[in-house]
């Protein structure tokens, strides 16, 4: 059987894991965009429209918090919206990823964790092609510093880790609670409204502000905005905070996913 040993991967090898994830990502994107490269930019439509709406409604009211510049408000809103949009779409699709592939997981020996990972990763690829170039251009224009553009990567890594951790938790729970996606909509609405996406953080009452800081997305959005919009040197503390938040959530999510594994495999 020597000749076959080369062709067939050993069960749990890293290479096999990598190929499964890579194939899933490739085909996730293929199904979503059907070969049209421009399709990726379609995902920017939602944040762009929302920015327009918020600017029309709140722009005047909040302009004084943005040095009197409506453009600053728009950029702040758009940056926040792009992040939150990435968060909601990627995690809510990761939530379904285990159950949708239940038949496969029951027929073939596959690493279950590859499915939420591939879902988040395909959204990340989309983010890097769609929204990231825009953020980089704005960063370069405002800060005129390459360092800021590079620093941008760190809070985005934090964001991806955060989404992956939440994706692990939600996809495992969804196997047990098939109505979870309704509740998750409420949770993601809370995450969205409690991050200063379309309003300046300063308008929130002092005693509420600490609660809003608990939102893991806050530090990430704050860090990205600081790097993109402030024209200052990247705030290392904010960067550290967002990477740390992402790592903690990812570790918790991964442990949760592994511990629940023997239970959800019976119910998928």
């Amino acid at each position: 059987m020597e000749i076959f040993q080369e062709k067939i991967y050993r069960e749990e090898s890293f290479q096999r894991y990598f190929e499964v994830v890579r194939t899933l990502v490739e085909f996730n994107l293929k199904i979503r965009y059907r070969g049209s490269f421009l399709g990726i930019y379609w995902s920017l439509l939602n944040p762009a429209i929302m920015t327009g709406v918020y600017t029309a409604i709140f722009g005047e009211a909040f302009i004084k918090y943005y040095n009197g510049s409506i453009l600053r408000y728009m950029l702040a809103a758009f940056t926040g919206l792009v992040i939150i949009h990435f968060f909601t779409t990627s995690t809510s699709q990761a939530l379904l990823s285990l159950t949708i592939n239940g038949t496969l997981l029951n027929k073939l020996k596959l690493p279950a964790a590859a499915f939420p990972l591939a879902m988040i990763f395909s959204h990340l690829v989309q983010f890097c092609i769609g929204a990231l170039p825009f953020l980089v251009i704005v960063t370069l224009i405002i800060s005129k510093s390459l360092l800021n553009a590079i620093a941008l990567l760190f809070p985005i890594i934090g964001l991806a880790m955060l989404c992956l951790g939440i994706g692990y938790i939600m996809s495992a729970l969804y196997v047990f609670f098939r109505d979870l996606h309704y509740f998750y909509e409420i949770i993601s609405f809370l995450m969205w409204i409690s991050t200063p996406v379309f309003y300046p953080a300063d308008i929130v009452p002092q005693n509420i502000q600490p609660i809003l800081k608990l939102n893991p997305l806050s530090s990430i959005i704050e860090s990205i905005r600081q790097i993109v919009l402030s024209a200052q040197f990247p705030d290392l503390f904010l960067i550290f905070q967002s990477v740390l938040t992402g790592s903690i959530v990812l570790i918790i999510g991964w442990l949760f996913f592994q511990i629940l594994k023997p239970h959800y495999m019976d119910l998928i």
Partner: protein, 245 residues
């Protein structure tokens, strides 16, 4: 050479029948004090047996006796609650063909994806694509989405991919005949080829007792998760049929 060995393998599973839980129902039942801890049922009882390289094992028994579950434990999809499972070499399951296809992807993409899921490298699958299309007689459809194929064509494709494999251990769960008469002839030849190669160990679950009698070297009779008998197919099938009538 020994190729499969199970020692005292038991498996507890949560049963699906009580599984209608939604978060809403669970919360309400906790509030009303009616929440019951989920029950686990023992679906495999201290299973022990071993197979040598080249053995062909038929597993027989009534519906729900744990035959497919046993295959899942051997494949590694489910981990036993106690006991050990040891296997040597690559395992290829050929379970309900076509279940893994993505209807929106093209035939070619599905070949690659299915192959990678089975454990092959992308490169190997790309090299094999032509052969697989040829065997499944789907060359004209290679760029068509799988949802446009008839169910028979999809089954042919699944068979072609899964049997292009030359594993050390082949797991078969009721998938011996696919497609129309001419394809059945072809698929039978391929199964025979796998069957006759002396270094492939085969585990087969089937209700086709004649096939097991003719083709297997050993048989296991399972009933409610327990091994009732293990031995020559002829004898096992006779005992099994006697117990039924």
């Amino acid at each position: 050479m020994e190729s499969v060995r199970l020692e005292n393998v038991s498996l507890f599973r949560r049963t699906k029948e009580e599984f209608s839980y939604t978060l809403k129902q669970t919360l309400f039942s906790i509030i009303e004090g009616k929440y019951k801890h989920p029950v686990k049922r023992k679906v495999l009882h201290e299973i022990s047996f071993k197979l040598n390289e080249g053995d062909k094992l038929g597993i027989i028994g009534a519906n729900g006796s744990g035959k497919s579950t046993l295959l899942k434990v051997i494949t590694g999809i489910l981990n036993p609650s106690s006991g050990t499972v040891r296997t040597r070499g690559s395992i290829a399951p050929l379970i309900e063909l076509g279940a893994g296809f993505n209807p929106d992807l093209s035939v070619i993409d599905n070949i690659l994806m299915y192959g990678v899921f089975l454990g092959f490298s992308r490169k190997y699958m790309r090299d094999k694509t032509e052969d697989i299309l040829e065997f499944a007689e789907l060359n004209d459809y290679k760029h068509a989405p799988v949802k446009s194929l008839s169910s028979g064509m999809a089954a042919r494709l699944g068979f072609a991919i899964a049997t292009d494999v030359h594993p050390d251990i082949l797991i078969l769960d009721e998938v011996l005949s696919v497609g129309d008469a001419s394809f059945q002839e072809k698929s039978k030849k391929r199964i025979d080829l796998l069957w006759n190669s002396t270094n492939i160990t085969i585990l087969l679950v089937s209700h086709d007792l004649d096939f097991i009698r003719d083709s297997c070297t050993q048989a296991i009779w399972l009933d409610r998760g327990k091994i009732i008998g293990i031995g020559k197919p002829n004898q096992m099938i006779k005992n099994y049929l006697d117990s039924v009538s």
